[in-house]
Amino acid sequence: MAKKTIRLKAKEAKGITTVKALMEHAMESGNRKDKKTGKKIPGHFIQEVVCETGGKTVMTALWGGGVSKNPYLSFQFKGAAKGDVLKLSWVDNQGNSDSLEAKIR
């Protein structure tokens, strides 16, 4: 994918790293109908978001179609230092994926 779909920020303070991420995605739930054709719009949403640092997975988010369009995600974890690399990747139900690395500041 040419265009990056992720914006990722990670900041460490007092041993706790705060991660904030925005992803660009339609997050189509699969319950909506096309008003013109009356047909259901097929679901297209991110199913899994994985955050890793130092070879360890710190957080896995399992998502359904109930997460908002262009999803926002924030969480905290302990045990990382400034300068460590955090990697966030997502996979959607149609097999698309993207990932991005960011240095923890």
């Binding site: 909506r32 998502w63 908002s68 924030s74 969480f75």
Partner: protein
């Protein structure tokens, strides 16, 4: 009545057949759930206890005052409802967010590795006014907190 409506009614009727249908459904879905890390079955459950049972291994969670669930009292736009869950419970394994009245109550589940702090924030869609339930799994036990969010414009229908 359109064909689609009839189909809806048929689906409802077959759901009402109850436990029998559920058991068959579970049996059919189980192998797929094993193959994929993503718990398809839990994300297809139409009722909160069912989704909890599949995903977290129990449909009962103790109400806990140690969970702070921050949601708006009134959501003007159901397509974007900010949800923030924080907890002081130790050893958090996962935090799961449910919107009880959504077509699929299970919205999002966050599974933590080592060093979990017990804070997540995200934005969810809500079809109509509903309780939002946060379930925290820690040390193999389930704790929950819930808040009602009034939705003026739904975000799930078309």
């Amino acid at each position: 009545m359109s064909i689609d409506m009839q189909r809806r009614l048929f689906l409802r009727g077959s759901l009402a057949a109850g436990a029998m249908g559920l058991a068959i459904g579970a049996g059919l879905l189980a192998p797929r759930a094993v193959l994929a890390a993503w718990p398809k079955q839990a994300f297809e459950a139409k009722k909160l206890p069912e989704a909890m049972q599949v995903l977290l291994g129990g449909d009962q969670a103790a109400k806990s005052g140690d969970i702070k669930l921050k949601v708006p009292e009134i959501a003007e736009n159901g397509a974007v409802v900010p949800v923030k869950v924080s907890t002081s419970i130790e050893n958090v394994e996962s935090i799961t967010v449910f919107a009880v009245n959504n077509p699929v109550p299970l919205v999002s589940s966050f599974q933590f590795g080592e060093g979990a702090v017990g804070l997540v924030a995200t934005r969810i869609k809500m079809g109509k006014t509903s309780d939002v339930v946060a379930v925290v799994k820690a040390g193999g036990k389930l704790y929950s907190a819930s808040e009602t969010v009034k939705v003026t414009i739904g975000g799930c229908g078309g």
